[in-house]
Assembly symmetry: C2
Homo-oligomer: 220 residues x 2
């Protein structure tokens, strides 16, 4: 290296969101050793010598959540000196989104070394990870306004009520049904399947899907 | 260092925007040596051992543009292996905004080792810097929609026509005067000074200023 006087350590940490029981949750993993041994933390890892940052984040998701091919976007880089007691570590953070059915039963099940925490009830996390989750939540909420990012949480077919619930869970507030539907039409991102959902005592509801060609036309 | 097997080099590069002659310009500096010797590049520098990322970007601005205290925000981190032929360098990029009168005559004057280039007419830049400027421009344009960021380009007092020109220069398109003024009122970020600008053959125009307490209440 030509810059040995300036070498740093770089990691990525990933905020993986899902929605379970109408709550926005993030994946946490238990740190097996010091520093912050026994604390919950965001899944993360050191960037390898010949690895792109995005690839590192994808590798972390694969290793810690056994998932790939989901929405993944760089969030922000944190580099306060002293954030890691072992030495200078700069972390490039990402956030990722997936519906629970993409994550698999094993990953969704809480255990001693992996759990899902509601964004508004986080435990004390390792390092500066308690600063990272709110920033990711804020970015996600802001994107609802002008993008189709919420569709990342939907299954293949869904009702407009289900989609509205996703918005409400992320924003933490109730939305007016008529305004919500008008806004969705403006985004032109979903289409009717021609099928109906009939369940319980409610009136049948139209089923929608992401407009062709599917997830590719997500507006970032 | 506990992580010597994973050490990287981290830099910051700053896209400093100003508006000159109704064009959105970025500051470029000439690289004095290899790699990319003689090429134009964004001002940048290596992050010091005990330096926060924001502080490094501020130091770069002070060193290369003799300016401090202006709007400065982290943009994105670039870390493709091979982006620097000397070895692995991850750069945390920032963008900054200032009106020309904050920058001083010396800095505004083009020379052999420093120049201002219009964002839509960039020369071939060193490293991956040609990817960074459009991303910064895109972020800035997106922020016009929901923030008061454009006020960073204004002097102490300005007319609504001058402010509209700033929007048009950044967006690269003409705006409807009435819609523009309605949108501004929604942001509630400026107020009348009670003074008028009288110049040329135009009708006198009201002068505005940023609403109290000034630049502090900028919506990021």
């Amino acid at each position: 290296m030509a810059f040995s006087a300036h070498s740093q350590t770089v990691s990525t940490d990933v905020v993986l969101f899902t929605i379970r029981d109408d709550r926005l949750m993030v994946l946490l993993v238990r740190r097996p050793r010091e520093p912050f041994g026994g604390y919950w933390a965001l899944p993360g890892g050191l960037v390898h010598e010949q690895e792109d940052l995005d690839d590192c984040a994808a590798r972390v998701l694969q290793a810690k959540a056994a998932v790939s091919g989901i929405y993944l976007e760089q969030l922000y880089s944190f580099g306060r000196p002293g954030r890691d007691p072992r030495g200078r570590v700069i972390t490039v953070t990402y956030y990722a989104l997936a519906p629970t059915n993409r994550l698999g039963e094993t990953v969704m099940k809480d255990s001693d070394d992996r759990c899902w925490a509601p964004v508004d009830q986080l435990p004390a996390l390792a390092f500066d990870h308690n600063e990272i989750v709110p920033l990711a939540h804020q970015r996600l909420a802001a994107k609802l306004e002008y993008s189709t990012i919420a569709l990342q949480f939907m299954g293949e077919r869904f009702t407009l009520s289900e989609l509205q619930t996703v918005y409400e869970v992320i924003l933490g507030e109730s939305l007016d049904k008529r305004n919500f539907r008008r806004r969705l039409q403006g985004l032109r991102c979903i289409e009717e399947t021609g099928e109906w959902f009939r369940g319980g005592s409610h009136r049948p509801a139209r089923l929608y899907r992401v407009r062709q060609p599917g997830r590719v036309d997500i507006i970032k």
